[in-house]
């Protein structure tokens, strides 16, 4: 057996000074703000008092502002760009086009999948809102005035709007810039055992098939992207403050793009107003602001508007999937087969580990023990913004979970089985872990049935099943639907040998410096965008060093001071950097033992550390003890001859495996047969993310992801018209859920620690967005399943739901519910 992560090598043994970490059964906190305690967030004070420092809050003396001229066409050749009128505008300092960037060798930039994207269009526009020119001016109003005056002469070409259209023989070729490219085909990919899978399908009692589109979404953080670039000609150093989820890799890429040596580049990610995968790629605006600052030797700020953000930066999903299951007549799933048509937009710029062209989609066998699986995928270029970013997602796991969890519901309905029962029948059992899937994943741990049972109980499942039946029998105006999703997630990329971003291995890092007065500064290579790292990482270090969480400050987002790391996305912060924090703390603890031995006049081997008290003591003599505060003082003021002075450690953690959080979500909806509106009656989420660091933060993450799941399932869609115009490209048309569309969630948890993670944690941020959309769609389908409905596409807008109701005779005409009387004369009502 070989998974992708052992690949011929034996799995690496994880070595560190590990006393086993906190025990989830007995550990309930020791009052110092360690594992499991609901510590209030350290970062909150600045945010609630208006003292946050987001990208647009940065103001530098002599700063210029950059506005980008974007193409109104989706596919067009640029004949000419006339800058002259723009340069006449008061306050405009410069107008940059591709020609200007070429002079500095900055005309193109690599995408994260080794494609080459124009920073400013050189020849041909490939999507609406693509960057054509940049106007640099004294303030943002002048920059916009200038942008309005740049005259671009376009030769409009036929656009290719959908992936299906793109692959037709006569489709215009979008990427004629790639040598040898004669069509819009981007890539093919397959996984699993086709022969074995096909054989099972041929013999199976039952097979089901469904086509489903995971529509194009946008992460749409409330803060858009932006940068403030500041080239210092005195030091030959470029500082770029930017909305980055991955500042270190961005520094490396900036160096590669610009030719500026990496030690002469500093990337600073200030407070980031949400990212959700949108702020992983490099965008032209960042490069333009840096180029302009380099050329003009003044700081240059670039801030996106919302429509620019949605229309030109990394979208998510856009997978048109066919799912198939083969099963026995009593509901045992034997095989899964899937075929995907992926729209990658104009460039291959998906943000995922480079050896995974379809991301982690091959986790599509989910929580189920199946005999065989096969998946294939074709990706196409279209005249739309590049993307396929991991929107709160480990690289297509969201699409995979949607596929399998939808298909299980389709199969349950086909067999007339309860969807909870069919899941129970097929779950991988706790004693099967570590479990290798037919597509080569190596699941670390799980107890899927426990999570499902808990969710069923919390949801009062039987009650709602009865209520559902009652409504059907009474021909009620509102139908009940119950949806389940029992998902398995994959998070925490690396290990580095299999997962890399632009060649850089996906490890992460933590640097701990304990100061002479007993407090500590902790620096991590990941970058928060709201996840609460300043609190969570402090808690990990507090737990592992016996310090008080209040005495620990966590820093991140400055490549000049923080250890190199791969950043925050795909729920990798806790699995990877969290592990680094624990291991670094244990390295500090090792040295602390040596200092304790010196202070307590005992042999180092006799020094024990007590997790509960946080103190170091002589074995068998608990009263001969010393605190980490006193040890810190000794490290600088009375260090043992056998050790260097100081008390610090750094760890670069390359995870031996990914972690596999899981959970069961149950959604009860009420579907209005008159209006097609869907109300959430109950929304239960039971998550298992292994050992829990801060339950309050975890619950907050779950809430947020579930709300995004509702957005995905019910409202959000980046739409295009036939000309490639983005018709869902701002907040008027790309609808984010408000407080009125989001119900109260009931959250629960089970705890199945990761066996290979130093503190048994798995990561949680993306689980709710990965797991909830299929539960929601399953619920709405379930309300109509008795009339044979097997699928509804997302977003399930009221009109789409009503059309579906209507297709099986379940709709109600609103006029039936009241009588219109025109008076007793029988005369037509008079016009006003």
């Amino acid at each position: 057996m070989s998974s992708d992560f052992t690949d011929g090598d034996e799995p690496r043994e994880f070595v560190h000074d590990d006393d086993g970490g906190p025990d989830p059964e007995t550990h309930c906190g020791h009052g110092r703000g360690g594992m499991g305690e609901e510590v209030r967030r350290k970062e909150d004070k600045r945010f609630i008092t208006g003292r946050g420092n987001y990208i647009d809050d940065i103001k530098k003396p002599n700063m210029l502002f950059c506005d980008i001229v974007r193409s109104p066409h989706a596919h067009a050749r640029i004949k000419n760009i006339d800058k002259s009128r723009a340069l006449d505008v008061d306050g405009v300092v410069a107008v940059l086009t591709a020609e200007d960037l070429l002079e500095h060798d900055l005309a193109t930039m690599p995408t994260l999948m080794s494609d080459t994207q124009d920073v400013l269009v050189r020849d041909k526009v490939k999507f609406q809102s693509q960057e054509v020119a940049a106007v640099i001016a004294e303030d943002r109003y002048a920059a916009r005035d200038g942008a309005d005056k740049v005259v671009v002469d376009y030769e409009v070409l036929d656009p290719v709007v959908t992936a299906e259209e793109a692959l037709k023989d006569d489709a215009p070729v979008i990427r004629d810039d790639i040598e040898g490219q004669t069509d819009n085909h981007c890539l093919d990919w397959e996984t699993g055992d086709k022969e074995a899978t096909d054989a099972i399908f041929e013999e199976a009692d039952v097979t089901v098939s469904e086509q489903m589109l995971y529509q194009r979404l946008h992460p749409a953080p409330i803060e858009t992207c932006g940068s403030v670039a500041d080239f210092d000609p005195g030091k030959d150093k470029l500082t770029v403050h930017m909305t980055s989820q991955a500042p270190h890799i961005h520094r490396t890429l900036f160096s590669q793009v610009s030719g500026i040596p990496e030690h002469k580049i500093r990337i600073v990610s200030p407070d980031v107003g949400g990212g959700f995968g949108n702020k992983v790629p490099i965008y032209p605006g960042y490069v333009v602001s840096a180029a302009a600052s380099y050329v003009l030797e003044r700081p240059v700020k670039w801030i996106e508007e919302r429509s620019e953000n949605i229309q030109s930066t990394g979208f998510a999903r856009d997978y048109d999937m066919t799912g198939e299951l083969a099963a026995t007549e009593d509901g045992r799933i034997q095989a899964v087969r899937t075929d995907v048509l992926a729209d990658h937009g104009a460039y291959n710029a998906v943000a995922q580990p480079s050896k995974f062209p379809a991301g982690f989609f091959k986790i599509f066998t989910g929580s189920y023990d199946v005999d065989a699986a096969y998946g294939s995928l074709t990706a196409a270029y279209t005249n739309s913004a590049p993307g396929g970013v991991a929107y709160r997602c480990s690289f297509r796991v969201t699409e995979a979970v949607y596929l399998i969890e939808r298909m299980v519901k389709v199969l349950a309905d086909e067999l007339d089985m309860d969807p909870a029962e069919i899941r129970r029948k097929n779950f991988i059992q706790p004693d099967q872990f570590p479990y290798e899937t037919p597509t080569g994943w190596n699941y670390d741990s799980g107890d899927y049935e426990a999570a499902l049972d808990k969710a069923l109980e919390m949801a009062d499942y039987e009650h709602y099943r009865e209520e559902q039946q009652r409504r059907i029998e009474n021909d009620a105006d509102k139908l009940i639907g119950i949806g389940i999703s029992s998902f398995t997630e994959v998070v925490g990329a690396g290990p580095g040998k299999t997962c890399d971003i632009a060649g850089v291995e996906m490890f992460d890092s933590c640097d701990i410096r304990v100061h002479p007065t007993g407090n500590a500064t902790v620096r991590v290579g990941v970058q928060t965008q709201g996840q609460g790292h300043e609190t969570t990482f402090a808690q990990i270090v507090a737990e592992e060093l016996g310090m008080d969480v209040d005495n620990i400050t966590v820093e991140h987002g400055d490549t000049d001071t923080d250890p190199y790391g791969l950043g925050t996305y795909g729920s990798r912060s806790t699995p990877v950097a969290g592990a680094a924090a624990a291991v670094a703390a244990r390295k500090v603890r090792d040295k602390a033992k040596s200092i304790a031995a010196n202070e307590l006049e005992a042999a180092e081997a006799d020094i024990e550390w007590d997790r509960q008290s946080g103190e170091f003591h002589v074995a068998g003599a608990p009263d001969r003890s010393i605190t980490i505060t006193d040890i810190a003082a000794s490290a600088y003021m009375n260090h043992p001859a056998s050790e260097e002075p100081g008390l610090e450690a750094v760890d670069y953690y390359d995870p031996p495996e990914m972690t596999y959080p899981f959970g069961s979500y149950i959604v009860v909806v009420e579907v209005d047969r008159e209006t097609g509106e869907v109300d959430f009656e109950k929304f239960v989420a039971v998550d298992d993310c292994g050992n829990r660091i801060n339950p309050m933060i975890i619950e907050g993450q779950i809430h947020g992801g579930l709300a995004q799941g509702i957005g995905s399932a019910m409202m959000e869609h980046v739409t295009f018209d036939d000309n490639g115009n983005v018709t869902g490209g701002d907040f008027m048309n790309y609808l984010l859920p408000t407080a009125k569309e989001i119900p109260n969630f009931e959250t629960g948890h089970t705890v199945t620690p990761s066996p290979h993670h130093p503190i048994g944690a798995k990561g949680v941020g993306e689980s709710p967005l990965v797991g909830s959309p299929p539960a929601i769609v399953n619920a709405v389908v379930d309300a109509m399943a008795h009339e044979g409905i097997s699928h509804i596409e997302m977003p399930m807008t009221p009109d789409r739901v009503w059309e579906t109701l209507d297709s099986v005779g379940l709709s109600r005409d609103p006029s039936d519910s009241f009588e219109i009387e025109f008076g007793d004369t029988g005369a037509e009502p008079a016009d006003d």
Partner: protein
């Protein structure tokens, strides 16, 4: 470009500004007065990150020209700690957001806090539904709103406990608990149905 002299009283401090007529109020607050707590999240008045309280009413300062606010009293998140209800520390709404984990990335938070303040000024004891209605002009992508609602409820309870609301309310007439952003044809505050549109 012609300019106009205006006076804005922000968090109790009066400022004289010379602005272009087209300058947005949010830019005047953020860039002329350097009060960067209020944010910009969209171009269309939907997100509410720029929400400030103008003459007692929550408005979207990205849909208001600075000149429209000439002579008005504006409250932003930066003034909350100086509010009498803050009692020298955090305002109960700020405290609510901290205690109930009502924020994650923090970007929408100042707007939410000001929307929350407008809700409670109008109706010191709003129901959950009234709070949800009241903040429906403010988008949050991180929290799922549940804890934001709890944060505002926390403040409502705290203000009740302090007994300060009753005194300050002075027998004000009961209200519907909602608020509008104050700009015509914008998100419409309470009236807009965010569920109904098919954006295809």
């Amino acid at each position: 470009m012609s300019t106009k002299d205006i006076t804005l009283t922000v968090n109790g401090e009066t400022h004289s500004l010379t602005v272009e007529p087209r300058m947005l109020l949010i830019h005047a607050i953020r860039e002329e007065l350097d009060l960067t707590g209020s944010h910009i999240g969209c171009d269309t008045g939907n997100c509410g990150a720029c929400t400030v309280v103008k003459d007692g009413e929550a408005i979207k300062s990205c849909l208001t020209f600075a000149v429209q606010a000439d002579g008005s009293e504006i409250e932003t998140v930066e003034g909350m700690e100086d509010h009498p209800d803050a009692d020298g520390g955090l305002h109960p709404i700020q405290e609510g957001f901290e205690q109930e984990h009502g924020l994650q990335c923090g970007y929408c938070t100042p707007g939410m806090i000001m929307a929350g303040k407008a809700i409670l000024d109008e109706n010191p004891n709003p129901t959950e539904e009234e709070i949800r209605e009241g903040i429906s002009g403010n988008l949050c992508r991180c929290t799922g709103y549940q804890n934001i609602v709890k944060s505002i409820q926390y403040a409502s309870d705290k203000l009740d406990e302090n007994g300060e609301v009753a005194a300050a309310d002075g027998g004000r007439a009961e209200t519907d608990g909602g608020f509008t952003c104050g700009v015509e044809n914008c998100c419409g505050g309470t009236g807009f149905d965010h569920t109904g549109g098919d954006n295809e």
